[in-house]
């Protein structure tokens, strides 16, 4: 399996956009290399804006640049793309209805050694609460590239979340990315595993192991957390009658939260959530952190067994 980082998928998508759409502009707050924005910068020096270490100013400038028809893509770490600039996004982007694409790298624990100051685990929650904000968390390089291109064609604010580590690149290279459309990666009858971002691969690994034990699971890749593909989730749960959600994010406010809200309203079913439980992260190698905080295939397997037991005991 080819291993690639999702941030490079973003960089590749942005490079392609630079060549195909003259209205695309990119802004960065002193992390051009980390975000893989150098290609775009080199090919389009007049459409690349180095803002310096001033994220609030960057979001405001991006909002203003939409006036006159530009499509700004801002790039910095996920923490500095959200919590640091929440009010700027709220007023100048979301409430003002501006066509800004907030592109956020190094999300979650897999940022690794820099530790909790940089490991944002609340960003999905913050962003999905903003009215009309689209929230996307693709799972691998190919999907991140496709998502980067797709959001340029959507008019309105978008939060695009991706990460630092090299992870399996398993989705098709030529995929068409449809905002808000869940992807069925595997069919099954005993439980539905709904995952986003880096946890999608872990969910597939978990499903394989469970299958060897005779447990059949459906795996759904939710790359768009908002708007959520309610129909796909409800259809699957109608059959399996229980759910595990998995994400590299706080349980509070994350994908699991959105799924639980949907199910409690439309089709109550036992649910288990794999995510970070009301805790900050810490320094360490990315995959060791995922193990320590319970965000691996093994944790999804445990949660799946548990939720099936709950369903059977209902």
């Amino acid at each position: 399996m080819e291993m690639k980082d999702t941030r490079s998928g973003f960089g590749a998508g942005l490079t392609e956009l630079g060549r195909t759409n003259q209205n695309i502009v990119a802004l960065c707050a002193d992390l051009t290399g980390s975000l893989n924005m150098n290609n775009f910068k080199d090919e389009n020096p007049d459409r690349f804006f180095q803002i310096g270490i001033a994220e609030a100013n960057m979001i405001g400038i991006a909002a203003g640049m939409t006036i006159g028809g530009k499509i700004p893509f801002t790039g910095t770490f996920a923490n500095f793309s959200t919590s640091r600039v929440y009010d700027q996004i709220r007023q100048s982007v979301a409430y003002s209805g501006k066509n800004v694409k907030i592109c956020a790298s190094h999300a979650g624990l897999t940022l690794g050694e820099d530790g909790a100051t940089h490991q944002v685990l609340e960003d999905i929650g913050m962003m999905k609460m903003l009215p009309h904000m689209v929230v996307i968390n693709p799972c691998d390089y190919n999907q991140t590239k496709a998502a980067t291109i797709a959001i340029s064609e959507y008019i309105g604010p978008v939060y695009l979340r991706f990460g630092r580590p090299k992870v399996p690149n398993f989705t098709p290279i030529d995929q068409k990315f449809e905002i808000g459309k869940a992807l069925h990666l595997r069919t099954g009858n005993d439980a539905t595993i709904i995952a986003t971002g880096h946890l999608v691969w872990e969910a597939l690994e978990a499903a394989k192991t469970l299958s060897d034990e005779g447990i059949s699971t459906e795996v759904i890749n939710i790359h768009t957390i908002k708007p959520l593909d309610n129909e796909a989730i409800l259809k699957s749960v109608k059959n399996t009658k229980c759910v595990v959600t998995a994400e590299e994010h706080m349980i509070n406010g994350g994908l699991g939260d959105s799924v639980a809200q949907l199910l409690s309203r439309k089709r109550p079913a036992p649910i288990e959530m794999v995510g970070v439980n009301d805790s900050f992260g810490e320094s360490g190698p990315p995959m060791k952190l995922m193990e320590k905080y319970g965000l691996t295939a093994a944790d999804i397997i445990t949660a799946t067994r548990k939720v099936i037991t709950r369903k059977l005991n209902d």
Binding site: A56, G64, M65, G68, P72, S92
Partner: protein, 281 residues
């Protein structure tokens, strides 16, 4: 082009609009609104090259951003008196289902508003963005902004000051409403902003100071000087000395009318000091 007498009449009518709007809801910000009536009248009725047939993109026209959104009464009054929307809509200010929200927003589709403001300190950044897009579009129009002086206590403004000069955003004229008052008292009591000219010059801006910020003729002259200074690789700032509550005697010389509405008696007094010129809404 309007004569100075006509502009002064417009200002008087806008003062009436402001106090009537705020009085009608017992809420809003009359002090700073009155202090900037001459400035916004000068901008919208004389200095700016703009189109009242509003488009969000504002291609090939000068555009304005109000950063201190709480002075929405004067902004709404000026926009409607200039023809962006019907003056009758001023009666809906701060009411439910209105496009005239407490603080300005494009969210309700009000003509003339391109960016929400209210949470302070964000307007210079957004204006810089619009100015950069004008450059990319080979549009040589100018972007104007207005900021409160107390607003300069927000850190983001200084990020924007640094960026605009560092990156030679020279199609930008930022005016500071220098009335030296904010909600809790004078600027010096709350948090001194010190020698503003020196600070802005240290940030490599061209700085003009206008001591007569409530004299419409003086403002036009200063804005025209500022215009001549654009396109020379530096952003331009105007420190506009204004009187909070200008034109209503009991609102002047105090910070108390920053965000308080006049009662019936106070309204009558304010209106008697500003006789109807263009017809009330």
């Amino acid at each position: 082009m309007a004569t100075i007498t006509e502009l002064k009449d417009t200002v008087t009518q806008i003062r009436r609009d402001i106090v009537r709007m705020v009085h009608a809801n017992s809420s809003g910000h009359p002090g700073g609104s009155l202090g900037c009536a001459e400035f916004l009248t000068a901008l919208y009725f004389d200095v700016m090259n703009h189109n009242t047939d509003f488009t969000m993109d504002g291609i090939n026209e000068d555009i304005f951003f109000l950063s201190n959104g709480h002075i929405s009464p004067v902004f709404y009054a000026v926009l409607s008196r200039r023809g962006y929307f019907n003056i009758s809509e001023l009666a809906t200010f701060r009411r439910i289902d209105s496009r005239l929200q407490g603080h300005p927003t494009p969210h309700e589709g009000l003509e003339g508003i391109r960016m929400a403001s209210g949470s302070l300190g964000q307007g210079l950044s957004t204006a810089i963005g619009a100015a950069l897009t004008k450059k990319l579009n080979d549009d040589d129009s100018i972007v104007y902004t207005l900021h409160g002086d107390g607003e300069l206590q927000e850190g983001q403004v200084w990020e924007a000051f640094m960026y605009a000069s560092g990156k030679q955003v020279d199609n930008l004229i930022a005016t500071i409403d220098y009335n030296q008052k904010q909600i809790d008292g004078t600027i010096d009591e709350v948090l001194p902003i010190g020698n503003l000219t020196a600070k802005l010059e240290a940030f490599d801006w061209v700085v003009l100071e206008e001591l007569e910020g409530n004299n419409v003729e003086a403002i036009i002259n200063t804005l025209n000087r500022a215009k001549e200074l654009t396109g020379k690789k530096k952003p331009v700032a105007i420190i506009l000395h204004t009187e909070m509550g200008n034109g209503v005697d009991y609102m002047m010389g105090t910070h108390k009318w920053h965000g308080s509405a006049p009662n019936d008696e106070q309204l009558s007094k304010a209106l008697s000091q500003n006789t109807e010129t263009l017809g009330d809404y």
